[in-house]
Symmetry: C3
């Protein structure tokens, strides 16, 4: 009906895949589909038994239809079983999206879009993104800080009405990759919402800041949710640009200001960053299945690296683990990348970039078992993991020169040169001119030191930004976003609370 | 059989309606009854769709028998749906009680009583109370402090063996209203019980204090539970006035002392208080359904106001939201009164009392949606809510002159005079000579200031009582109860730990 | 098939009964079996009604097949009902084990063994042990510290990589009793495991320390789990003595060292200890069923006594509550022994040992009700419990002379001489030359004082060991184990971190 409507510029398929725990299903229907999926993947059940190591605990199956979903087991399920179920569940989303794509492609020529969420990792967004034209996401900075980010009380209090200074940028960079360069913000929070544990209002200036930050990271569109606040039903306390009586709400003025500023500034150019961070959904499933320590979480690890890069003032490209072209990158980080194929390692070694890998990178097979050869498998580095330790937050290990190891530490051996060690003498970082392996989870200070060392080796300039201030380069334009509730100083300049600043070469063009 | 037994002076119907989560039921039987109740209320399903705003999220129903109970939904249910279910559930209790009343009225002429519990709000006690002759309640000060009251660790430790200094008085005042003036304590804790997380013994003197406090608030009877401790089954560790071997337990002596003191003093007279506090069960259901902030709780809000009034030495009447006669009251408080009919506002304005309304008072319709007109609807005040914010306990906003806003703050606009504002300039309290609207949740200090301001305007004398000391006026007799575990001084007098003091005009008659 | 295989030296039946919550079952099959068990125990249902006090709350049954399992009740089930179910559940394990024993006895002459777990109390190990030849257990010091022991953060941090200094010894002593003198460690943790919340590596020396400690407590065998780390399935991150590629892991060297040291030292002799501690599984079920205070736990209480005895440098025998021969013991402790038969009291009084009983010892009947006579029933002591109090961790009561009462305090009366009282004058400890009754739960300091007083009266020498250092006498050999991560001094000697020391009379033979 709307296929050729000229006012339709793009089609959003479905809504927020994965929100409200909608990916993992333990229904009978899911079990049947999972058995089919396993039959396709393994062909015969003996191959599955071998791949999963089912000889352990007498878990061997005779037929595929004996295989239940990996829940309601007496102790715990086989991690290979869980991992297969996670892959299956992701594949179901890809197939479900494709069904909708096929229907719409036949009816319309406009771009197809889905609106992803923040920190939803239950399916592989890169695979869904392959079938769509534009990626988008729903950005709720205040709710996300409180309901899905680790952080100490001081951090959460300091950014209560602004959101975490790196959370939005991370997803902008992630979905730019998922959208192969084209992405929108589909839902931008314009005021207090209704669904977080607490729902304070954004500080004055934050709606503008969030909007400009998206644009600086390459968003083609920033759309606010919602246009008009509904006076009834579930979301009646969710602010819109208009209040229920059609009068403008607080966010409207800032949205209008951004629109005018965009018109004044003209289009921005996006350029490749110097630094790439590999993000891999199956790695999240792997470590979620087999965390080994209660607080080992892939997103948390990746995000701690991303934050450190941003504190150093760097702009970052997030790339999938399938990418093999590293031209133009000077630094590539891949913390926690569970399983890697050998070409990634050799291509990284052949690239001009310094690759910083680990912890846990390349330590398990595709079936979530320990590979036969020595691990991790870093081409050209003689490094072995003797054992891995996880430890509670109260336990830290100091590193020579400053900073500490937290959460996770591998006992590394081998002849690869030691680049960092604990005060007790244990290896933290090892490597050569092209590749480093990090066997530990660094705290903030140690991440700062590590990023500084890597940037120096890669010939990149870094800085030390004050808390809340973040930079982003968009072609010739340099942006600074101050997420702090107070003004901060950096580089002999003062940045107001909740402000956006931009320079075109020398000149300040936005304040 | 017992209908005309002359030793039966009153009949207790059932036991502690609502205790052990027995009101809300998600059974199939409940669903069928709910559908009937909805049919009665809305007549046709289109009216229900409109009233609930079911156009949102495509929730429209075609028939009443499609309407499930508001559980097991993918995201959350429509608040109007939940609110209807809460009203239905309360109505079921009223009906169930009435069935028993009808049976007993035919068999006996003695008064009918039910024993309510502490902080059970799942049904409208005022409606049940309409069908009965006397209200009563089961007062367990020590268990209630630990299992159903907010409070910081210091407070809970200070009153561990005495109970909260305001909890009993609140329920005495509440059930005096529910009983239309006639009420008992049906079960008074006489020693350690068995069911709280921890069960320490009352400090010496507390059984006497609790008993006298009930009498000072108008109780006709204080009955102790239990007479003799049972040596077996679930409650074998619940103290009685007698031990299992029929020897007197610790509480017996104090109970006997009270009996003797009552005989000496003669009957007390109850008089109307100067201050009324409106208590409304549906408001609890409303904010429980749509709290908007994780710790927004109606009872907690009401109780914070009650405590502040008591800290100022005031005696209080609790009244239902249906009351329209305010003769004799100088101050009426109505915090968090969700939905109000217009006559309440106009009758309050026409009364001689100063009405202090809000936060959240008169902000939703009967169907838990945002009313079309500007809100809150305070007759004669030009005040609008631009937006509402909830925030975590770590976040407070200082108010000019002392005290802070906690938990909740509305952004108020309109021409109504500002009476209090934050240090950031936001309106906290607004109003004229007859009606005030409070858009924020005050902390203790701010409540104290607010009560002081309101009392001054209303021509009431207030005091600042030390922690644990509370007053109650019963006609010409003035009582003081010291809940503290140590003696306190006030008004040039010393009050012993856990003591009761009473004056008849000038003379101390009870110590 | 393996019945006469000469390489089979013993048979392990099943694995870790009770691990993963496998004892208590609320299935339909369990209900039918429970009804049978009740029929056997009570004969007719009236006897059951009387025994359980079912007249309370109208719980009387007409027939055994009306009796459900004690779950899914509106409020709580009758404690007698729960207690019967706990006894039944334990009996089922005994029967299940016996079935396996009968099969194997017919096929083999080698000893039969089961491997018990740490702090699993859901069945009576003494009863299972009666049918077997050797007891064994699975010792995971690091995981057990974090997942099943109370302890403040400092304690848990200090022993993170060593385990609690008393947990292993306690189970060694317990299973020595269960095995009637013969016991093994079936699974000794040799490195980091996979199943605890966090899995750090043992500090250097701990594998040797754990091994030697077991031997010092009489273990015939210390077997490490596992021999080779599996590269797949659930336990792939569980260290073995060998790594997956067959190279030795960290624990191998220490295990080999212990083997060599054992060969050098020759066999040890086990002798009876001076101190006995009565351990009783049904007491755990009783207090678990009717804790009366949220943190009243039988193991926790027993373990607090055991720790205090160990801090004083004593070696301890754990004995069952059925033991009546106390020859050779100078001190017998029985905290929290719920139900006792009268012969225990009289035999204790007739023994040469000083018996220290309580809190809660001998306070309930076999059916978990309050006995008709005065309680506790301590032969020859005139002591009554007026009432019992439980209180939260924030509440303590200081005792004259030092230390405090925590968690639990009984109000004692009677003419028995007071040996300790609170600063408020309440009796803490009472008794005569043969028997003491302790009505309170002591904190560490108070336990230390109590053990010191009791040892002095019993003519035993005690010491005050530094944190982490523990002693064990094995015949003429005196062992010292330093669990601390640093060296400690005691008795003019220095003990290295994680070290084992042994003396044969004067000479240090192991360091």
């Amino acid at each position: 009906r709307y296929g050729n409507n000229p006012f339709i510029k793009a089609w959003q398929l479905d809504n927020e895949y994965g929100c409200h725990d909608t990916i993992i299903s333990y229904s009978d229907v899911a079990r049947a589909a999972f058995q089919e999926w396993l039959t396709d993947r393994y062909g015969d059940v003996e191959a599955l038994n071998t791949a999963w190591g089912n000889v352990f605990w007498s878990m061997e199956y005779d037929r595929f239809d004996q295989i239940d979903l990996p829940n309601l087991t007496v102790t715990e399920p086989n991690p290979a079983h869980v991992m297969a179920f996670r892959r299956f569940s992701s594949d179901q989303v890809v197939k479900f999206n494709r069904v909708q794509v096929n229907v719409l492609r036949a009816a319309t020529d406009v771009p197809l879009i889905h609106n992803y969420m923040g920190r939803i990792l239950d399916f592989d967004h890169f695979e869904v993104g392959e079938d769509l034209d534009i990626a988008s996401w729903d950005s709720y900075p205040i709710g996300f800080l409180s309901d899905r980010l680790e952080g100490d009380d001081d951090h959460k209090a300091a950014f209560l009405q602004q959101g975490d200074p790196d959370m939005q940028a991370f997803h902008h960079d992630l979905y730019r990759a998922v959208g192969k360069g084209r992405w929108w913000v589909m839902e931008q929070q314009p005021g207090p919402v209704n669904w977080a544990p607490y729902n304070p209002a954004p500080l004055d200036g934050m709606v503008r800041l969030w909007s400009w930050e998206a644009i600086a990271h390459g968003a083609e569109v920033v759309s606010y949710f919602r246009w008009r606040q509904a006076p009834f039903a579930q979301e009646q306390m969710h602010a819109g640009l208009l209040r229920p009586d059609d009068t403008p709400a607080a966010g409207m003025e800032e949205a209008a200001q951004v629109a005018q500023e965009i018109a004044t500034l003209g289009p921005l150019v996006q350029v490749q960053a110097d630094v790439a961070l590999i993000f891999d959904y199956p790695s999240d499933w792997a470590w979620n299945t087999m965390p080994q320590g209660a607080d080992f979480d892939y997103f948390r690890l990746i995000f701690s690296a991303y934050r450190a890069l941003r504190r150093a003032g760097l702009s970052i490209d997030i790339i999938p683990s399938t990418q093999r072209n590293f031209d133009g990158y000077k630094l590539v980080f891949a913390p926690g990348l569970a399983n890697t194929d050998p070409t990634l390692m050799s291509d990284l070694r052949d690239s001009d970039a310094l690759a910083v890998l680990g912890p846990r990178t390349a330590t398990v097979t595709d079936e979530l078992s320990i590979p036969p050869q020595t691990q991790p498998v870093i081409t050209g580095l003689d490094v072995n993991i003797e054992l891995s330790e996880s430890f509670p937050p109260s336990h830290i290990r100091s590193v020579e020169g400053g900073g500490s190891v937290v959460h996770w530490m591998e006992k590394l051996s081998g002849s690869s040169p030691v680049l960092m060690k604990t005060e007790g003498g244990a290896t933290v970082l090892t490597g050569d001119d092209q590749m480093w392996y990090l066997g530990s989870w660094p705290d903030e200070t140690l991440w700062n030191r590590l990023v500084g060392m890597a940037a120096t080796q890669a010939g990149l300039h870094t800085t030390a930004l004050p808390d809340g201030l973040r930079l982003r380069t968009a072609g010739a334009v340099q942006f600074a976003f101050n997420y702090s509730a107070h003004s901060v100083s950096w580089n002999d300049q003062v940045f107001d609370a909740c402000s956006v600043t931009a320079w075109d070469r020398q000149d300040r063009i936005l304040k």
